[in-house]
C-alpha cells in the first residue's frame, strides 16, 4: 500500500531536520527492503553531521543510515500487521 512518509533526524545537522529528499523517495511506494536500503543510503548522504567530543561526523552519518533503516522497517511492519 502506498505511503506518505515523514523522516526526521536530530544530531545529524546543527538542528533537528526533516529529510525531504528521502521522504520523496518513499512517498507513494511500497516500502520493501530494496526501498528501505535505498532510503537509508540517501539519508546518510543527505545529512551534514556536526562532530564533537562524543561522536565524529562519520559515525553520525552511519548511524543515520542504521536508524532510518530500522525505523522504516519497523513502520512497514506495523503497517502490514
Amino acid at each position: 500500500m502506498p505511503v506518505i512518509s515523514h523522516v526526521g533526524v536530530i544530531g545529524a545537522f546543527s538542528r533537528p531536520h526533516r529529510l525531504e529528499p528521502v521522504e520523496a523517495m518513499l512517498d507513494g511506494r511500497n516500502v520493501d527492503e530494496q526501498t528501505i536500503a535505498a532510503a537509508a543510503r540517501a539519508a546518510a548522504d543527505a545529512v551534514d553531521p556536526p562532530q564533537d567530543l562524543h561522536a565524529d561526523a562519520e559515525y553520525r552519518r552511519a548511524l543515520v543510515a542504521t536508524l532510518v533503516e530500522r525505523a522504516l522497517r519497523a513502520a512497514a511492519q506495523r503497517r502490514s500487521a
Partner: protein
C-alpha cells in the same frame, strides 16, 4: 540496643542494632534524611584503609577496654578478672553474682590503641564476569548481566559493603563506557563540564549482582578484613574490553582503549 543522645538541640532515644552506623541511625531510624556521609582526603576507604587500619585500631582498643572492664568488675565482685564473663550489658562472676556495666566506676575505663600494618598489606580478592550484547549498527553495548564476587575476609557491615561494591563497579563501568578526559595537543581540556564528561548514575547500569564472601580472613590484621569494594572496580575495564572482543570475535575486533563509546565500538564492528 537503646541509645540516647541530643541532635539539633533535641534529646532523642532510639533502639538500633549495635552494628548500625551513626549515619544509618540518623537516616533510617530518625528519618533525618538530609544526613550524608562526607568524604574527604584520608577518610575515604580507598587503599582499604578505613576498616583494615581504623577498624583494626578500634578492635585493639576494644580489647584493651574489655580487659579494663573485666578488672573493674572483678574489683567490684571481689573475684579474679579471668573469671568475669560479659554478656548483655552485665559482667558476671563464676558464682552467678553480676554487676551492670553502667554501674562500674567510670574512672580509668578508657582505652587508647593504634594499629599499623607496615609492609603487611591487604589486597582485594575477587573476580567478575559479564554478559554483554553489542549492536554492530550503532556501537551500543548492553550490559545484560554482571556478577562480581569478592572474599573480603570478614564482613563487618553487609549493607555498606554491598553499596561499596556496587558503587565501585558502577564507577568502573563509567570508566569503561562513558568517562573520557579529552585534551587537545596544547593540553586544553575539552571535557570541562558534566554535560561532556559523562558520569554514570544509578539508572545507567541496573543489572549488577554482587556477592561478598568471608571464607579466608586476612592474616595481616586482627579483624581478618581485606580490601573490599576495590574488587568491584579493578577488573571492569579489562573485563568489558574482553566481553566486547568476545561479542565481535567473528570480526577479529581487539579493543585496546577505553572508553568503549558507541563510535569506538562501531568502528570495531565496521572496520574500514
Amino acid at each position: 540496643m537503646p541509645v540516647a543522645f541530643t541532635i539539633n538541640g533535641n534529646p532523642v532515644e532510639v533502639t538500633v542494632e549495635p552494628r548500625t552506623s551513626l549515619a544509618d541511625c540518623l537516616r533510617y531510624a530518625l528519618r533525618l534524611t538530609g544526613t550524608h556521609i562526607g568524604c574527604e582526603h584520608g577518610v575515604c576507604p580507598f587503599h582499604s584503609r578505613s576498616t583494615v587500619l581504623g577498624g583494626s585500631a578500634v578492635f585493639e582498643g576494644a580489647g584493651v577496654l574489655l580487659d579494663k572492664i573485666r578488672a573493674a568488675a572483678a574489683a567490684c565482685l571481689d573475684c579474679e578478672s579471668a573469671e568475669i564473663e560479659i554478656t548483655d550489658g552485665h559482667a558476671g562472676a563464676r558464682d552467678g553474682r553480676s554487676v551492670a556495666l553502667a554501674e562500674l566506676p567510670k574512672d580509668g575505663l578508657k582505652a587508647d590503641a593504634s594499629f599499623a600494618n607496615h609492609h603487611r598489606h591487604t589486597y582485594a580478592y575477587g573476580t567478575a564476569a559479564a554478559h554483554v550484547t553489542v549492536d554492530p549498527g550503532t556501537g551500543r553495548v548492553e550490559l545484560v548481566d554482571y556478577l562480581v564476587v569478592e572474599d573480603v575476609g570478614r564482613i563487618v557491615n553487609p549493607l555498606t559493603l554491598h553499596g561499596q561494591v556496587i558503587g565501585s563497579t558502577v564507577q568502573g563501568l563509567g570508566g569503561a563506557f562513558m568517562e573520557n578526559l579529552v585534551y587537545d595537543a596544547n593540553g586544553q581540556l575539552f571535557a570541562g563540564t558534566l554535560a561532556d564528561y559523562l558520569i554514570p548514575t544509578a539508572t545507567d547500569f541496573p543489572r549488577i549482582r554482587a556477592i561478598s564472601l568471608q571464607h579466608r580472613p586476612s592474616p595481616t590484621n586482627p579483624l581478618g578484613v581485606k580490601g573490599a569494594g576495590e574488587g568491584g572496580i579493578i577488573p571492569v575495564g579489562g573485563l568489558m574490553a574482553n566481553a566486547v572482543a568476545g561479542a565481535l570475535s567473528s570480526l577479529g575486533a581487539e579493543p585496546n582503549e577505553l572508553p568503549l563509546s558507541p563510535p569506538c565500538v562501531w568502528r570495531l564492528a565496521n572496520p574500514s
